[in-house]
Symmetry: C2
Subunit: 180 residues, 2 copies
């Protein structure tokens, strides 16, 4: 599937409501469970998505669109949320994410992005040369990856409880070694 701006915005706009349906007022064992040491809980995932709104996707798009002499992005801190959100509630995080995402999509919609601008270059500190189109596509795939991760991490809390069904539920044995 080729990148399409309108189809991308539609998915990005759904993520707050999807996570709200899955996580708001959910009991702590589901919210705080992980896949093992140094892996994200659903609570961590929402914190990480907030970090993305504040420091990753739109800030990087702005660097590209500014067309200055320096198009290299700042490195992204995958664990910024840990200290930032200590003691906060899931509902509080979901509200913050919903607000930040809404404002960022308003900003994105306000840019008159012609095809040529989608090809403008940036430089990722780890990946090298990228385009604005690839950045926006990665934002969509990143959202969906973390929705998938949230559901997978929740499922794994019942890995023992399902007994023999573990053989028929591949989600319970995905990512035996953490990949995200």
């Amino acid at each position: 599937m080729d990148f399409d701006l309108a189809l991308s915005i539609d998915v990005l706009a759904r993520t707050p409501a999807t996570l709200h349906a899955l996580l708001a007022d959910l009991a702590e064992p589901w919210v705080r469970g992980t896949e093992g040491p140094d892996t994200f809980s659903p609570f961590d995932v929402v914190g990480h998505l907030i970090d993305g709104e504040e420091t990753d996707w739109i800030p990087r798009a702005r660097i590209i669109l500014a067309r200055g002499p320096e198009v290299r992005f700042q490195p992204y801190d995958r664990f910024r949320h840990r200290a930032r959100n200590a003691g906060r509630s899931m509902r509080d995080l979901l509200a913050e994410f919903t607000s930040l995402r809404g404002a960022n999509l308003d900003r994105l919609r306000s840019w008159p992005l012609a095809e040529g601008q989608l090809d403008l270059p940036g430089e990722h500190p780890g990946l090298g040369p990228v385009t604005l189109r690839q950045l926006l596509a990665a934002w969509v795939a990143h959202d969906l990856g973390h929705v998938a991760q949230t559901a997978r991490v929740m499922a794994k809390q019942y890995k023992e409880a399902v007994g023999p069904w573990v053989a028929y539920l591949p989600v319970l044995t995905d990512h035996p070694v953490p990949r995200s």
Copy 2:
């Protein structure tokens, strides 16, 4: 995490709204995309979950609770939905799933399930002896596995569009061989 009936029902009750937020009125390229031949699209996933409401989880729980001489379950047809839902819309499927899930959870809540009953046996045609507790835990994990699958399959539609970001988005290279 030990099985808990109330915490399980809370997750099961969320799945229709989660899928509605992710999929209702979504464009066809997202709804019909798959991970390759003989894998499920998001449309197929919702059809498969409807089949589970009609033929799997609660019907099997009833067999266990009836405590008859025959506690062996009927085999489950993973492709029943294919012919059944040809020509229907995603919105139509989501409405049907929401209705069936609501009725099934009303039924589950109406059963006075004491601890001892959760240990009652059934026989799975492929897995052998199982308990009601394991069946209900598997229902929860099955839901979450298919939510994860839906988001993963959507993400993969942008596997090429993200360019170099594929290296940082493990969801795009999960399940290189279909597992569910």
